[in-house]
Symmetry: C2
Subunit: 182 residues, 2 copies
Amino acid sequence: MASVEIIGIAAISLDGFITRHEEEGTGFTSPEDGAFFRHALGSFDCALMGRRTYEVSRAHILASLSSGRLRVVRTHTPEAFAVDAQAGQLEFTSASLGQILADLAARGKQRCAVLGGTSLYSECLQRDQMDELWLTLEPLGFGSGKPLLKGRLQAQFQLKRVQALSPNTLLLQYRCLRGVSR
Amino acid sequence: MASVEIIGIAAISLDGFITRHEEEGTGFTSPEDGAFFRHALGSFDCALMGRRTYEVSRAHILASLSSGRLRVVRTHTPEAFAVDAQAGQLEFTSASLGQILADLAARGKQRCAVLGGTSLYSECLQRDQMDELWLTLEPLGFGSGKPLLKGRLQAQFQLKRVQALSPNTLLLQYRCLRGVSR
């Protein structure tokens, strides 16, 4: 059974935060990142996110459901989201990361975007389950907020591509090196 | 009296840490960043750092003192470092950031490298005292360590230059936008 290619996608400040202070969501990102993100998602047949990430984007996600891309939301309480769920388009699960990815592979999915938040990015890296990490680096410094990663990681990457989304915003695409965690 | 140009220099992980976990110093950085840093320092006539940054690099600094570049170490207890001090080359002070920079200007200094750590980078930005921020972005993810910045900042930057120090390590040079903090 072929495995699913897993690509983490995040927009961060120069100091590595995915939110500005206690604000939820990615209101700090540039229009150019928004355009890149919407375009990039088109090349994925599934996307995985945590509950909070879903809740922040819920209205947008519900308005843009499509049979072409399965959204999977990981939550401890999938039953609480039964009203939102649509099989094959928007599913909620409390399964482990390994189970979720095995299920996606079994269903023939090929390319999964991991959209956050901190826990999901970190767990994918810690379990050697991430193939690439695409970071939009916004020209901002926050000092506080939700971090991109947490825990005690030894993740290593290879820089694959640098692209200027605008004069001040960079898209950095990294390949994750496997099996380097100590 | 002309003011001193202030340039923050730091090496960070992709997730914005200036140390790996609880390790002191910059042992995680690439040889290419080390070479860049040593070369870059040559263009500064003074450097400012916090006590812990000094202590980590003390042996190296003491071995490379020069009348061409004044090192200033900010500490609550300058008297504890009297044995290391050499007027004009290595000085210790408990003065405020504003006082330190005014003193450097009065002594004719033109270009000051701010070498960390977190508190000093953050205070320079918060007080609109930083002209540029030079970040070496190492292809690593730590999840924990000392952050580049702390507090509640609204710092904004303009990207001035992107340079590949190696295939995987980027040097990003930003100009700090003044007066944008809310």
